[in-house]
Point group: C2
Chain length 480, copies 2
């Protein structure tokens, strides 16, 4: 069967070249395509359907916490971007600048939003007057633009889709609470829906968001042992409020500055799904996020009654609320299997003449390839159970892999040995000085990923880099 | 009660100044706000929630017809925009041009998409190879930018949200069929969900989309007698395909050009909802699109048991699938009534001590202000029935208004009399010459809205403008 071979051969193996494997999967699973617009990606139906599922589930979780959606303009006048000093330094260098409307030179150039803190601040400045107007818990779904030099589908793109939440609160405590709450929404979503275990923690000063008092992050470990920052939540304190003059009258009739947060998750997370769960046959999607959960593939479909039975099974599963498709194309079963595997569909059902005779069908798990013979009358129940098992097992498997790639380093030599030979997270104590972060970055291209919330045992009393007294446990690693 | 007065007085009456009434409603119902970005609007939670409902319902209807969602880059390189001549002439004059990425001058300037035909063509050129790849029925939800001089919330804005469908087909017939199919999806959606009656028809050559063979439109009549183009569907034939070289190999192994369509509906439609249904107390939302369908307002809420009962009613309605909120703020009932009316919430429920004693509550319709006493045990059923009645009555009312403002004109004098004195649609025969359209535009600022699909009786044998032999019946009018 040369055709089947061809589809699988189209993917480089992960062990041979992980970066090429990633690119191959994105292409062959038809998630994205390149465009004539340098550095921007086209998200194709199979990729966008994953994003729609992410949006639906995240949006539902946001709204449960009281989030309201809004839409801000996509443009930021330069003078507005310039108001908060750290923020403009962080974003202006990679902004895309609009200078002309039609044939007219604009009086002031405007950039396409790289993020919308300044727009929300400009809005809140007038929108918020009294303590009765607080909190404001707004979010928007949109695309943002950052003029990156090196780009890769989902992971780094000049334009990407995301959501950005922007909130304003009466007190410091409330803002901090919301910051952590949203980080936990992201973390729970990743673990429960995407089956991706994450480390929750705080960024160091060096790694925090431009303009934030504190940035919290969830960090996931990819199959190649590199980290991927998967969602961030920022506490701005009253820094932006002071820069923009966002004040409210409190119950005592005195003027106070609001305290703000922002938090975002982007299409980057699709890169994490690919790199945490994928294998040498392509994509492996967790059932809860898979646009198609079950693909029914008829065997010897030209024989009488086969297609009808396959179609009946599909309809039964659809009626049971399982996202199911039937592949009744004129390709060979083997080719269809390869395609279903490439696309990461969690279960395929094989149904042929012998199965029908025996009153059964065969369910094949995408994640383990295990085959399970199921009596036809039990199909819905067994399929549902299997989807749940796959979801749970994929998380357990990803967690086992992640945990097996967390190493402790007590000094520079250990750190060097691990970072050179064993890709993964390195737990190491840190003195708190940026010089040590800079050294690890320069020597090994390794960064501090986060200071974890839990897991704060003191594995050494001295900094893994400089040997001076240590302050914090840090997860280090190479990152996307 | 000076406070209640203030809220209502905040709106100019429709008859006095319709444009100001519109602006007031948009502001006081908290749908949008102005931004520091000239000509761009901020869509606030109450406005965005309407758009989310529109998206959900339209998207569901699209997918039933086989539409798949994708995402294209927001930028178009100038050379790509220039490929189709009519198209670039139509859109380049109001494009926003990006010239710099960070501090670097771009080698080629790029515009922010005003519409994405060129991007889809550029993609389809490589994506479509064989007849097996057809049809492609793609859609995207995004924002687009057109550098307009005069702007108004929802109606005309430099950036607005929309969906744009872009399809490619093997044959001319199939493309035409899809063009009409999507126009009907829009029309049915407007009539069934938004309670807005529309005229379905074809645009004249002068009014069609830049680059299209044919443009179809749905035209709605606003309360002031002006028309609003509410959705359009374009058949491109193979014009773009020839310009971009989009060819496929057919079953006979010969190379053919694809036939394409595009179709769009935007946040402009929210302007139509406001101007078709609104009144001097504010917004009136059709139940099917209203983010909140029922507002429960307790009377004498400080008395024991009132708030509990009001909350119980709310919970019962929510459990019955009705989008319900409870206004338990410390404002007066009268103030709450004004707010609920301003926000266009279809039903309010008044519940006070006497009602509880009598085992009843009072349902008040937003559209007619009719009060209906309902026994508490029948609440869910009666509320559901009332929502359905309101939906149906709002459509009937809007249709009666529309139909009462359609006038026939048989010659120039009649046309002049009507367009000067009686705002509405004017049905008049047309010779087919653009000169007559130009004359009406110049003399009366009136345009040909469409040549209707049905309703093609010949009301005269001569052109309403020039008196020469007539070819088509046209709906004329002033438009937004």
């Amino acid at each position: 069967m040369p055709k089947e071979k061809k589809l699988v051969e189209a993917i480089t193996s992960m062990d041979e070249d992980f970066a090429q494997w990633y690119t191959d999967v994105v292409k062959k699973a038809e998630l994205t395509d390149y465009s004539s617009v340098k550095g921007c990606m086209i998200i194709k139906p199979a990729g966008y359907a994953i994003w729609e599922n992410i949006q639906n589930e995240l949006d539902r979780r946001f709204k449960e916490t009281g989030v309201e959606n809004v839409y801000m303009p996509m443009f930021i006048p330069e003078s507005l971007l310039n108001i908060e000093k750290d923020h403009v330094e962080g974003f202006a260098p990679e902004a895309a600048w609009v200078t002309h409307g039609g044939s007219n030179l604009l009086q002031e150039r405007i950039c396409v939003r790289p993020t919308s803190e300044t727009l929300f601040c400009d809005f809140y400045k007038n929108d918020i007057q009294s303590y009765r107007d607080l909190p404001r818990v707004y979010n928007q779904w949109c695309s943002v633009v950052r003029w990156e030099k090196e780009t890769r589908p989902f992971l780094r793109s000049r334009e990407f889709l995301w959501q950005e939440g922007h909130t304003a609160h009466a007190t410091e405590e409330e803002a901090e609470e919301r910051t952590i709450q949203m980080l936990n929404v992201y973390a729970d979503f990743c673990e429960e829906v995407l089956a991706i275990p994450v480390v929750r923690g705080k960024k160091t000063e060096k790694e925090k968001f431009a303009g934030a008092n504190a940035t919290y992050t969830i960090e996931a470990l990819m199959h190649d042992g590199k980290a991927l920052q998967s969602g961030t939540s920022h506490n701005f304190g009253d820094g932006f409020a002071r820069a923009f003059g966002i004040q409210y009258t409190d119950k005592d009739n005195s003027l106070q500055y609001v305290h703000q947060t922002s938090w975002g998750m982007s299409t980057r997370i699709i890169g994490a799904i690919i790199m945490v769960h994928g294998d040498d046959s392509g994509l492996v999607l967790p059932p809860k996020i898979a646009p198609i959960q079950v693909m029914v593939i008829p065997i010897q479909q030209r024989k009488e009654g086969i297609l009808e039975k396959a179609s009946e099974l599909k309809e039964r599963l659809v009626a049971a609320g399982i996202r199911t498709k039937l592949d009744d194309s004129d390709k060979s079963p083997g080719w269809k299997f390869s395609e279903q595997e490439m696309r990461g569909i969690p279960i395929r059902i094989e149904i042929g003449p012998k199965d029908i005779e025996a009153g059964q069908c065969v369910l094949v798990r995408r994640d383990t390839r295990e085959k399970i013979v199921v009596a036809l009358e039990q199909l819905e129940v067994k399929a549902q159970e299997l989807l749940e098992s796959i979801q749970a097992d994929m998380f357990a498997c990803a967690k086992a892999h992640r945990d097996a790639h967390i190493y402790d380093a007590h000094n520079f030599q250990e750190f060097e040995e691990i970072i050179t030979n064993r890709p993964g997270f390195i737990r190491g104590m840190w003195c708190g000085e940026q010089a040590c972060e800079d050294k690890f970055k320069e020597d090994f291209a390794a960064t501090s990923r986060c200071m974890p919330f839990t897991d704060q045992e003191e594995i050494s009393s001295v900094c893994v880099c400089c040997g001076k007294p240590a302050k914090k446990l840090v997860y280090w690693g190479k990152a996307y």
